[in-house]
Amino acid sequence: MAGSRTLKASPLLLASLLFLIGILTLAMLGPWLSPFSPYEIDLAQTNLPPGLAHPFGTDALGRDLFIRAWGGARISLFVGFAAALIDLGLGLMLGGLAGYIGGKLDTTFMRAVEVLYSIPYIMVVLLLAVILGPGVFSLIVGMTLTGWIPMARLVRGEVLRAKEEDFVLAATAMGQGPFRILLWHILPNVMSPVLVALTLTIPQAVFLEAFLAFIGLGVPLPRASLGTLITEGARESWYYPWQLFIPATILCSTLLAFNTLGDTLRDLLDPKRGEPAPRPLVKGSAEIPALPPEKTVGAPLLTLERACVRFLTPRGELPAIREVSLTLQSGEMLALVGESGSGKSTLGRSIMGLLPKKGSLVSGKCLFMGQELRLPRLGPLDQLGKPKLAMVFQNPLGSLNPTMQAGKQVAEALVAARMLSWAAAKEEALHLFKEVGIQNQRRCFFAYPHELSGGMRQRVVFAVMLALSPSLLIADEPTTALDVATQARILALLTKLKTTRGLGILFITHNFALAKGWADRVSVLYAGEIVEEGPSTRLFQDPQHPYTKGLLDSIPKPDADDPDTALLALPGSPPDPYTLPKGCAFTPRCPVARPYCKDEPAPWVTLQDGHRARCFAVKEALFL
């Protein structure tokens, strides 16, 4: 059951739920727990402190406060639940219909809702309480008069979204009636945000009732809500503080429990939950040491030796990178190719030290220009006066600060990394814009990222990174978010930078065709492991590993004679990273798997020019 697991996962949810059940039970059973009547005046027993006969004491008229408090809680909660449920009913009905029918009705509905919604909610309730006279009925009418609007907007939005889902379209195509579709297919799917909204509407209504009681518009006497009791208690609070603090505590703790319940529910139902939030403010300890220049001669730009990255997740340890070794020279482009989930982006981020500190375990050696980088590094990277690493991400819009002009984002990097003055940084930024192929540099400088095209944004990102004068650039799917023509231009730019600046480029991609066309060398990553690597000319002419072969076959070949063999998809799906075999992870999908492939680590087989593959079948084909 998903529900019971949710409860176990969040003790806060369980605690607030139990507390609310307790309050509700007491509010229901309260009248039977005390021999007194809530209205019975006993002038011999006034203002008694809490004691055995009167657990909460008595008020100025000698009425028992225990029974009055729980009776009051019942009225407050009734108002809260009634208002929230009516809001829910109206919201589901009107929002659902507007969203489902759409068109003119929806437009008219939204206009009307926007006018009503901008009327301050509380003034409506106040006005209605004055007009209709105080009472439970007028309270609930006032609260629901505009209270249903947020719910209706929420439901409408969710219905609009759900309407486009495949299964709803399928049901429509099968000729099911609109009412049935709304009830059976759409409603269950809009329930979770609605449930959260409901949980947060109840305390709002309880809160408002107490507020109105305090300004004399609450439930009329002799009935008393918690708000009434607090108002009465306030008069005597300096001398008999319990008369105030007992009902106040009941009210506040109930509100707190409802709010906590709503908050935890929202967090649990939020699809973004579970994504670790990195913490950029914790001061980092590891830094790139400054190098004497002679030490760097001859050494490769970047060397990874048996690098491993594991994430701690609720399901257990997730091995993202498993013993990856690679080298990259200056002026070389190494393509790291793999399916999504193969760990290629994790590898890039771990070299940059951008992994979340919490829950990432990193081991292995990472040498940058002969010096070891400790991973993961934290905090703003200290890039001043040191050999530099830079990284470009997949989505250029997401990589740029939306509230800062493009040019300023380059200039601030120049100020930080090269200690330029702002005026000099601006000049230099314009030069960099020219270098990355931006035509109208001055206009681009003052533009905000959202005003630029996708290709232009990625060029700005390159300019930002070049501002650091890096030796190594990690490009994580830099062209995936762009159209094909722009892709080629961006890759041509990368190639140009590689030669003019002697930049080492780690090009991370899932696209074999791009790797084939642009990279000098290629490493193929599968389930966090490198299965084959070599110069791109050799590797693509003579692929060895069954996975590489399968991937190459899945590139569409427009010149193939038989259209049926033009595209051979790789059978099976990527493995579950939690249950990887001891041997080769590709075994279940492998057409040439041996019985022992699953259990024994495959050997590396070296061919010529540094072309190697890790596979029993390759070894046996060569030596047997």
């Binding site: 926007e114 004055v130 106040a248 990195p278």
Partner: protein, 323 residues
Amino acid sequence: MRPAQSGVRLQGKGPLWRLFGRVIMMLTTLWVVATFTFLGMRLIPGDPFADPKVTPQVRENLYRKYGLDKPLYKQYFRYLGNLSRLDFGVSYVQLGRSVNDIIAQGFPVSAELGLWALLLALFWGTLLGALAGLYHEGKIDRSATFLAALGVSVPSFILALLFQYVFAFRLGLFPVAGWEGGTARFLPALTLSILPAATIARLLRASILDVLRQDYIQTARIKGLAHTRLLVHHILRNAALSVVTYLGPMVVNITTGSFVIETIFNVPGLGKYYVQSIYDRDYTLVMGTTVFYAALLIVAMFLVDIAYGLLDPRIRTFGAKER
């Protein structure tokens, strides 16, 4: 995580058109409120001058004085005309007293109190929210989150009574009530600021966590920016946008909060007079003040909406929607 902007969407039209649309929308809302109030006033059973001591001749004169002898539609247009001249009506109970008098007397005090509360709320809310968001999942985050949850769950009048009891009555640090001197202003302003501060803290925390997941923060880290620059220009600048959307509701919270706070601390502001007129069932005064408050809040929300557009470049240029 952009909250939906209210207002007419005139996609594809210029910014002036959109502004025009928003103004029309605001005026419509004001008209709806005014009409609702007018009709509501007629719905209240009874006649304000039904007192048997009032002779028929006097009653007729009173009707004529207040225009109640005219047909309903004429009364309605007269009422709208008065509102458009910012005349919010008169009290039928306290003869000679008008809503405008009371506003002129009480509003400056309420505005000062509200301003102090607003400043305090921004200070506490930002501090708490930023600490919670930046030290996510640590002890600081947990305590700040709990404080903020408490802040939105404890009604302000309970806080007011508690603070009054502890700080003024028991400890004697501040005057119990009144509006004389700086110390008297402290407790009302503090109490009034708690709910908005807690809301700001919760919003800012969630918003910071969202911003920290974005790649532009990674980009900024790679640049090697100084801590303060990263924090102010990249994290807070973007996270603050969600707080700006709350400024409208915050004005509402502070205004309605002032009703009870001014009553409890005996601050001679508009809120106190308003609550008093509700206790007195001085209907015309209540209605007039309600319309004034509603208009104030609607205009404030409108201004905040405009300010939000100015702060977020993606809305400022009225370009196509992104993300």
